[in-house]
Chain length 219, copies 2
């Protein structure tokens, strides 16, 4: 009987299917246990691959996390930018409501899939238990978008001071991240009257609230 | 030489000073590493006490966490209730702004001390990485207050539907928790224009935003 060929020290067995499997497993693990609470061993176990394969594709846990965050975050940021550009290209006659809905929609849409929901949860965790490198990563992915939206908002709400515009942008982010990541609380508080899985309703409700908040008298 | 008296199996050396030391150490540890990420061993180390003492006072990690959450949470809830009662006793001529500021102020005031800030952070973590028993605990501490405030809000904003009132209450909670727990993001986004440590400004900004959001047209 021919001796089975041993894997060499170079590239382990693998393909892009395996790579995806690792990314998805890692995304779920990070969403459930946070960055600090997830070990490479846990990811290896979930993905049903070898540790060598994870190391081969991503190197370290930090690199793997960054890959996930950049990829998903950029998807959201790109959609936000496209949607804002579409508004501007439409002759510039857009309302604050259009701007806010454009901002909120991409992250909301991500909730339609199980993996997407895991990412949204992972992202919400980044502000309560930020890994060391979170600030830089978040800036890299989102800051341009936040600035573009701030200037679009100020175009339709020119009465806002600098300070108030920044404050309200951050409060908007807080409100929507919470509605996403802790949907359970809504069901609990409303004793079932509100359905946190109705994404159209969620978009309507957050948009109306945020537009009202942004338009409040300043100071 | 007289043999040193061995501690019996009963009450270890300790006093209420030690008990407080343990509570504070645990609060900091839970805020930094979350519930799952904190071990009793870590708490023992921070508090400079023996594990026996921690076990004597609190039993388990879960019991210790509950003690902290109930104690701080009740402090916030009680102040909210008192402040709402004071509004009602003032002849009932209060505005939505008064109601919202009453709700927000107790948690904001807690930020004035280092321990208080740790609790606010711990509480924010509960929605991104809830321990198993979080829902029940949160309901127990906060649900009565949330209901009282909902009915006060609806008294001054009777145009809101049930569904919208619940949604907006939850969005308010999200906005303020985020502003508290991720104050860093505000400094980052505003490039230093906003000061997240100015508590009066924080109360003003969140109140104005939330009042605007609550008063937005419904549906």
């Amino acid at each position: 009987m021919k001796k089975k060929k041993r894997a060499g020290p170079g590239r382990p067995e693998g393909n892009s299917f395996a790579r995806d499997k690792i990314l998805k497993a890692a995304e779920m693990a990070f969403a459930e246990h946070g960055y600090a609470g997830t070990s490479l061993r846990e990811i290896v176990k979930r993905a049903h691959v070898t540790q060598a394969l994870v190391t081969y594709y991503f190197g370290t846990k930090e690199a793997l996390f960054k890959e996930i965050f950049m990829c998903r975050g950029r998807e959201i940021a790109t959609k936000r930018m496209q949607s804002l550009k579409a508004l501007a290209d439409g002759g510039g006659r857009y309302t604050l409501r259009d701007v806010i809905a454009s901002y909120l929609r991409p992250a909301l849409e991500m909730r339609r899939t199980r993996d997407g929901r895991a990412f949204i949860r992972l992202q919400a965790r980044m502000h309560t238990e930020p890994p060391r490198f979170a600030d830089r990563l978040r800036r890299e992915v989102y800051d341009d978008t936040v600035r573009e939206y701030l200037s679009a908002i100020r175009k339709v709400a020119p009465q806002l001071s600098d300070r108030t515009a920044y404050w309200r942008m951050v409060l908007m982010i807080g409100a929507y991240l919470y509605a996403h990541s802790d949907a359970h609380r809504l069901a609990e508080v409303s004793r079932g009257v509100c359905d946190p899985n109705d994404l159209d309703e969620m978009l309507e409700q957050i948009t109306a609230f945020v537009v009202g908040g942004l338009m409040a008298p300043d100071g």
